[in-house]
Amino acid sequence: MFPRSLRRDRCPALLALLICLSSRPLAAQSAPGHIAFEQYALPNGLSVILSPDHTSQVVAVDIWYRAGSRDEPPVRAGLARLFERLMYAGSANVPPGGHAAIVENVGGHGEAGADEDIARYIQSLPSNRLNLGLWLEADRMGSLAINDTTIAEARDGLLGELQQKIGEEAYTAAVLDAVASLYDSTTCPGYTHPPTGRVQTITAISTADVQGFYRRHYNPSNARLVVTGDFDPTEARSLIRQYFGDLPTADTAPAVSCGVTFAPGARTLSTRDRLASQPAVGLFYRIPGAGHADMPALQLLGLILGRGRDARLAQVLGGPGLAIATQAGVLGDRVGPSAFGLFAVAADGVSADSLQALLEAQVRWIMSDSLGEAELARAKHIFRATTVSGRERAEDIAEALHHAATFRGGADAVNTDLSLSMSLTLADVRRIARTWFVPANAVTLVVAPGAGR
């Protein structure tokens, strides 16, 4: 499935596809909205960010590991995502399933997710349980129960999930393939396969593969711990040293490079989907990674085209009954080159050709002088509203700090990025659209309904 970070956003669940906005970064710069934090590192390499806030009696313990699908060999696609389940298999001092049960029993909740670049593990707990949250994370960072049984269970779960997404949701497989095809497997092997994996690659995952991945990636040198909410920093530092301090250092995992050629020439992918009842068309463009200067504008372009009933695609395709579903936006957060997509499912009587022409016309529209101040202002309002309301809960603040540190050059960006977005002009946005949304930079996906997959 596509950008899973998106599922945690309040994204329109219109198509399970999720060409959706990742609206993480960008904080307000004045007092309301400012996120105060301190950062340091343990001798064993664990990065730590502490951001106390005593409004509510909640703490979040949030760890990101450099352990995404780009770190797995394509012939073992799905290995990174296996850990979403495996990390609940128990550890030296926690019984199988205990990580989830213990948290739920104290009224907390947890989440796990692995996408292209990172794997995240978040616990939200009542604040008198800070020590428990840290203890649980340290235990599974150091001694996760990896054996044939736990791997088999995790693998079954992953296959089941794959079956559900690919086997039961129309268009999903086609979109995943289209986005993966934006990249070249020799220069950018990490992004040429979707994180969901395939049946053959998941089945091929061996115990040795899993142990190797865990050793290389699930260690303090490749992890960042963020603690937010109602806690005392001095106490937190002491607990972190107590629980994580003795975990051995490891090598930093090798960086996976992704060389990409922008605008290599237009391409079209045609496919059939037996789960689809209507034709669908997608336009996918290669764009730079989340840290690039153009990313804020691209986020706004996604909103202009795709967010809400007054978005461009909804107005021009949805409203007049030409498409039964439309979506547009940046496909999640990536360190390496990312993708921007527009997608529409045709209404009855509308051909794939006309739908394609309509979508292409909207791309020309955003590059033209027809894109006006009103559309930009609306997108900025929505962006700001989503950002600030996405910074109230302890877990959301933790994610925002991680996001800034991983994708936006440093945790400080959490307090400077929003004003960057707000200061973009119409000229900036048009220029950036004209840079990236050229036909030579696109892969067009045409999905026909019916058997033949």
Binding site: A28, A31, P32, G33, D53, H54, T55, S56, Q57, V58, G90, A92, N93, V94, P95, P96, G97, G98, A101, I102, E104, N105, V106, G107, G108, H109, S124, L125, P126, S127, N128, R129, L130, N131, L132, W135, L136, A145, D230, G308, R309, D310, R378, H381, I382, F383, R384, A385, T386, V388, S389, R391, E392, R393, A394
Partner: protein
């Protein structure tokens, strides 16, 4: 893993396995103990009252530039006019669909433009509107709110669309056992009290726009209304905006809910009849106390122990200790005047009476025994923990403050609850159980097939049977019509049918049945095999009058031969059977006198398509079970007519339930000729037989 009961009788599908439990590792080191819970650290909520009586509560939280505004009015569903239940709900649905100078589309655009949200809902006590958006759009929030409350458009087209959706939903709910059960439970617990009133398709049909307008005029008054504002705003600014938007709002406080209690009740079980239902929905509970009662803390802890979260008592009693329930839980529902407690379970019909007894026993246990320490601590932890997590955002806080006030709680409640709940004792839990779950105060509702259930439930308490629409039914009205067993073999044309045997979607075997004529006789041959363990061929011969004459069966079960050879003549069944039981092969010599018509257990499946099938018909007859060498009464009931799709196609089929054997089996027989069994399920197992297209019958058995 599903635990299957092993059946020595069942000729096929001996998929016996035990539940594989995961053994927890012994955790060498315990998790660290929690720190102490401190009292809450929210800033104080400031209060103001406008001249017209509107109460304003403001919580200033400058952390993020967000704002949440909630306005609640004493116009909940408990105030719906007589025969117009659903009024508050319809009105709430329309308040955001156009007001002041804005159409429904304008309102939606205005709120979307700023990335905000705007909603209105009606609960039992109050109708509440809420706007969440960025704090620099505070004027928009107040403006939208005031327009909706003082100048709603209530457009006709929106009203009709909402009415149609509401009626469709209510109609679907009356057919759905879970919704229907919930409805009857509220009626049965509140017994005439306004909180028990609920909308029906009829009541919603009768609500005119004028009725909505008079309801709004009568109940939307500043006195009695509560405006809660949370976020990046000062008291002064909030007051200014409230005055500007609501200052001109006039009117006296509307009438409160009349005092009253539920009518007295006698102990009985309310049984709502759904013919043919294989499951039963159970709802057991009682009304509790007023919203501000200090016993709610103990009630919440009790609820966690009995029916919430992981491994609560109901799931252990109904799911682990006995495999009866597919789901079980409980909930405490709170209102201003009188709340209600409800335990629910979905169980197989056969287990309904045992499950009702078990739930009553669990409740009785809470009344008599003190909860053990560890269980109590765990429940307190969960209750105090979830409370904290629900008070993080401005929106959550606005809702929580509103709700606390509606229940009659002091504002300090939000800051002090966790500390209080952390000290609730086992004695307090037992005391609240005695108070709210007294044995003679409990309402028991069961939704299921009354024909199957009423006798066994009647052994627990007097049963009143109702149809879904509320009509009282007599036991005779729910019983299937009994018929003498009469079958017409001419309805079985010569043909061959194939069924694939699947378990949890995976094919595990095949069954091919063939009917042919040999002179005057009708011969039925059934070949079955399971990949793992079994193959057998059964040949049944009927004479020209349709009487059973001979049964022959040869097979192999797990490598051991089996054989049956029986003759049915002259009032006797004679022959022998070589069967494989748990302790090895046995030869049984059969020589039994049978009075009246008797069917061999292997012939039941052959006969079903030959019966004159009609809904709610039942045949009771004697069956000779060769493996047990005795006669047992069994019954076939036509329980349902349904549409199903199997590999062989889509069919309308009667569901015929076989009872009286060691396993309950359901046969699906086509309504149209040629009458054939297109599906067979063994109830409470994942095994089913599905008809496959004719051209696959030649496929060799896997």
């Amino acid at each position: 893993m599903i635990a299957l009961r092993c059946s020595p009788w069942l000729p096929l599908a001996i998929l016996c396995s035990t539940t594989a439990g995961l053994t927890a590792q012994q955790a060498p080191v315990e998790p660290p103990a929690p720190a102490a819970i401190r009292s809450g650290t929210l800033p104080p909520v400031q209060e103001a009252v406008l001249a017209n009586g509107l109460k304003l509560l403001v919580l200033t939280l400058p952390r993020q530039p967000v704002l949440s505004v909630a306005l609640s009015l004493p116009a909940g569903s408990a105030f719906d006019p007589e025969n117009h239940e659903g009024t508050a709900d319809l009105l709430a649905g329309l308040l955001t669909r156009g007001a002041g100078t804005r159409s429904a589309a304008d309102v939606a655009s205005a709120i979307e433009q700023v990335g905000g949200s705007f909603s209105a809902t009606a609960g039992p006590d109050a109708l509440t509107l809420q706007v969440d958006l960025v704090s620099d759009e505070a004027s928009l929030a107040f403006g939208l709110m005031a327009d909706a409350v003082l100048r709603p458009a209530l457009p006709d087209d929106e009203l009709e669309a909402l009415r149609a959706r509401s009626i469709a939903s209510l109609e679907a709910g009356l057919a759905d056992p879970v919704s229907l059960g919930g409805r009857v439970f509220l009626l049965g617990s509140y017994r005439g009290h306004p909180y028990g009133r609920q909308p029906t398709p009829g009541s919603v049909r009768g609500i005119a726009r004028a009725d909505l307008v008079s309801f709004q005029r009568a109940r939307f008054r500043p006195a009695g209304a509560l405006l809660v504002v949370v976020g990046d705003i000062t008291l002064m600014k909030a007051r200014q905006l409230a005055l500007a938007s609501f200052g001109g709002w006039k009117g006296l406080r509307p009438a409160p809910l009349p005092a009253g209690s539920p009518a007295p009740t006698r102990r009985s079980i309310l049984l709502v009849h759904q013919a043919g239902a294989l499951d039963a929905q159970l709802l057991i509970g009682a009304t509790t106390f007023s919203g501000a009662d200090s016993a709610y803390g103990a009630a919440t802890v009790l609820n966690r122990i009995l029916g919430e979260g992981r491994s609560h008592r109901l799931s252990r009693a109904l799911g682990r200790d006995h495999p009866w329930a597919t789901s079980a839980g409980s909930a405490v529902l709170r209102t201003n005047r009188l709340g209600v407690f409800r335990a629910t379970a979905q169980v197989t019909a056969d287990a309904a009476d045992s499950a009702v007894r078990e739930i009553l026993a669990q409740v009785a246990l809470l009344r008599t025994e003190l909860v053990p320490v560890r269980e109590l601590e765990r429940a307190r932890d969960a209750v105090t923990g979830t409370f904290a997590l629900r008070l993080q955002t401005a929106s959550q806080l606005a809702s929580a403050i509103t709700e606390a006030r509606l229940l009659g709680l002091p504002l300090s409640y939000l800051s002090s609850f966790r500390l209080k709940a952390a000290t609730i004792s086992a004695a307090q839990v037992r005391a609240v159980a005695r108070r709210m779950l007294a044995e003679d105060g409990l309402t028991v509702v069961v939704v299921g097939d009354a024909a199957r259930l009423y006798r066994r439930l009647g052994a627990i308490a007097p049963v009143q049977i109702f149809a879904g629409d509320g009509r009282v039914l007599t036991p005779a009205e729910v019983e299937p019509r009994s018929s003498a067993l009469r079958y017409d073999l001419a309805q079985l044309p010569a043909r061959t049918d194939s069924l694939v045997i699947v378990a949890q979607g995976q094919p595990i075997g095949m069954q091919v049945t063939q009917v042919s004529r040999a002179g005057d006789s009708v011969v039925y041959v059934e070949r079955s095999s399971l990949t793992t363990s079994l193959s057998q061929t059964t040949t049944i011969v009927f004479d020209s009058a349709g009487r059973l004459r001979r049964v022959a069966q040869v097979g192999k079960v797990r490598g051991q031969d089996t054989r049956i050879a029986l003759d049915y003549t002259g009032g006797k069944v004679r022959g022998s059977a070589l069967i494989v039981a748990r302790d090895g092969p046995h030869t049984i010599t059969v020589d039994t006198t049978v009075t009246g018509p008797v069917v061999d257990d292997n012939a039941v499946q052959a006969l079903i398509p030959a019966l004159p099938l009609a809904i709610n018909t039942r045949w009771t007859f004697d069956v000779f079970v060769s493996g047990e060498n005795r006669v047992r009464p069994m019954s076939l009931t036509v329980a349902d007519l349904t549409r199903l799709t199997v590999p062989a196609g889509t069919f309308e089929a009667y569901r015929v339930d076989l009872d009286g054997g060691p396993q309950q089996v359901s046969y699906y027989v086509t309504r149209q000729s040629p009458y054939r069994i297109v599906r067979l399920t063994i109830v409470n197992t994942p095994v089913e037989f599905l008809a496959v297209p004719a051209d696959t019958s030649a496929r060799s058995i896997p």
